[in-house]
Symmetry: C2
Subunit: 338 residues, 2 copies
DNA sequence: ATGAAAGCGCTAACAG
DNA sequence: CTGTTAGCGCTTTCAT
């Protein structure tokens, strides 16, 4: 790469390596005059410290990893901004890794972190992830992990989540109050904790209204878009088709609208819909989409702040602290309110 | 971090450091038996090489940077997948950096790459970027840069782009053939090369149809969503308001639909719209959105493949090679076709 | 086929 | 206040 290193600066200035190093790090041991000389030459020569050398030496990289299922999802893309906002001022670099909803991908990525590449990890697990050992192993190597959104509940690591069960409860109750009696729940995984929580909220709402929880109304849309389309289509072609849908994930918005279009079902007349989503375009859909809007930015920011705190050894003594930031039900046209 | 290093393995196996190192790298100098012993213990002890030590020594990191304006945009999020697809098999890591459309952010990020943190860079410049020196400086330090989509035309670096001018030409011609006579063009920057190209295509189409290019019909929507909304609203409130719009960027879709909604303008009756966009939801909008769909995945993949080739020294002798992958005009409801 | 030793660039403990 | 020195963990000559 480049050859301006501390040694070169030292030689030029007729100083020792360590003096230059200390001067650059603004050590109290170095005289103001010397510091000035060093800084001047460093600037002039455009000296950039070698990241690997400092990391090797100091055993910290100032890199934090963000491990996500995907980035084509407004929740995650907004969360990234929150994360960046929190760590940039602290001088950390954000490295984004994508699992593409694959457990193997996730495990391979975390494995790699054992090489010391990153100082800490922000993790939102894949849809497939049921095991915890890959994360545990990393934590055993003293790499701090903070979960956000899609957490592994049983691990003793900090977690930042939203009130999934309550939100789904609210959404379902809202649909009930709009007159729905056959409400379906669309999940993307049977294992994902947040999906289970959301489903739980949905079930509880039904129970609290003396309505039966029908297995036929609970779908897992874990496949590709075309298969999800078929699944939802079948659902909405049923004789006793649902008159309300709670969709647990943004992706399913398109699916439901498309199916309704094809089946000539009218929203909100024939079917009402609430979707967990941070999509900006919720307002321009016809009808506009009633959403549960998650605090994506805040969740990312909070998780990142916790991680930085841990890295800076203002250690959280409670390893399994859990922060809940509530979501908001934003009522729009798709649930029948003009 | 962790303490299983080569030294520990060597000690345990009663071998020298170098023998272990060579064995792990499958050197021809080492006997099969020894290799086996080494590998076995390495596996058992879960040895993971220290990334910084190897990088420091070998002056390569196996990291490539992807520098983007933002990630909440389907073009970029899909492009990332193409990039990953290309480099994962080669053992490279993808590190995503976000400029948030800021030149300063971009410059700071590239500056940091001079530390050797990454072996090469895939770059799509910010809306604000007019200067080239920050990139030139990096290239001078022998860090290979490959542009994709948003290129700096004057730099002698490989570029992967789509046929921006032609696509805009096609879009405009399409609107003309649908009967539009007062067509507006919405850009996001006056400097961005691709925006200029798209605008050029638009102008050329008008000229070829003996229509005047009206400055009043060319807007730069470079600000936040609310201000863009105002701008577009003003445009569509004009006495001689446009009957067609070519929007150069996905973000503006929402804006245009919202304005039409508020002004009670009917698409495609009152206004027709074509948008550069890879949005999946194009089909569920009312009316469905006519798009110019860019080959996002292929562009990312191609750019990444070029970069890898350069890194592996199958050098491209032509530094300023330029690959053009065409976009596709997908006609839907918003331009008046059912 | 194996090992000794130098060194990538930087930091920090220890001396002066 | 400045300098000497010993590594961080790994790869790579150059011996043996």
């Amino acid at each position: 790469m480049k050859n301006v290193n501390i040694r070169a600066l030292a030689r030029e200035l007729k100083l020792s390596l360590s003096t230059v190093s200390k001067a650059l790090r603004d050590s109290y041991e170095i005289s103001a005059a010397t510091k000035e000389r060093v800084r001047a030459l460093a600037a002039e020569w455009n000296y950039i410290p070698n990241a690997y050398a400092s990391s090797l030496r100091g055993r910290k990289s100032k890199n934090i990893a963000v491990v996500l299922p995907e980035v084509a999802d407004s929740f995650f893309s907004i969360a990234i901004n929150g994360i960046e906002a929190a760590v940039k001022p602290k001088g950390y670099h954000v490295i984004i890794y994508l699992t593409h909803e694959s457990y193997d991908g996730e495990a391979a990525i975390l494995k790699d972190f054992q090489s010391g590449r990153v100082d800490g990890v922000l993790l939102s697990v894949s849809r497939e992830t049921t095991r915890t050992d890959h994360v545990q192993e990393l934590m055993d190597k003293e790499v701090p992990v903070v979960f956000f959104d899609r957490v592994l509940e049983t691990l003793a690591a900090p977690k930042v989540v939203t009130d999934d069960a309550e939100s789904a409860y609210k959404a379902t109750t809202h649909l009930l109050s709009q007159g729905c009696r056959e409400i379906a729940y669309l999940g993307i995984s049977e294992d994902l904790y947040i999906c289970r929580q959301r489903m739980e909220g949905y079930r509880q709402a039904l129970r609290d209204h003396q309505l039966p929880v029908q297995p036929r109304n609970i779908l897992t849309c874990a496949a590709d878009a075309t298969r999800n389309f078929q699944l939802v289509k079948k659902l909405l072609q049923r004789a006793n088709r649902p008159d309300g849908i709670v969709a647990s994930v943004e992706k399913l918005t398109t699916t439901v609208y498309q199916v309704c279009q094809q089946l000539q079902l009218h929203m909100p007349g024939d079917v009402k819909l609430v979707c967990f989503s941070n999509l900006e375009i919720a307002t321009i859909l016809q009808p506009s989409l009633t959403t549960i809007t998650q605090p994506a930015f805040e969740m990312g920011k909070t998780a990142a702040e916790m991680l930085v705190k841990i890295l800076e050894k203002k250690v959280l003594t409670e390893k399994d602290i859990r922060v809940v930031i509530p979501s908001e039900l934003v009522v729009r046209g798709s649930s029948g309110v003009k």
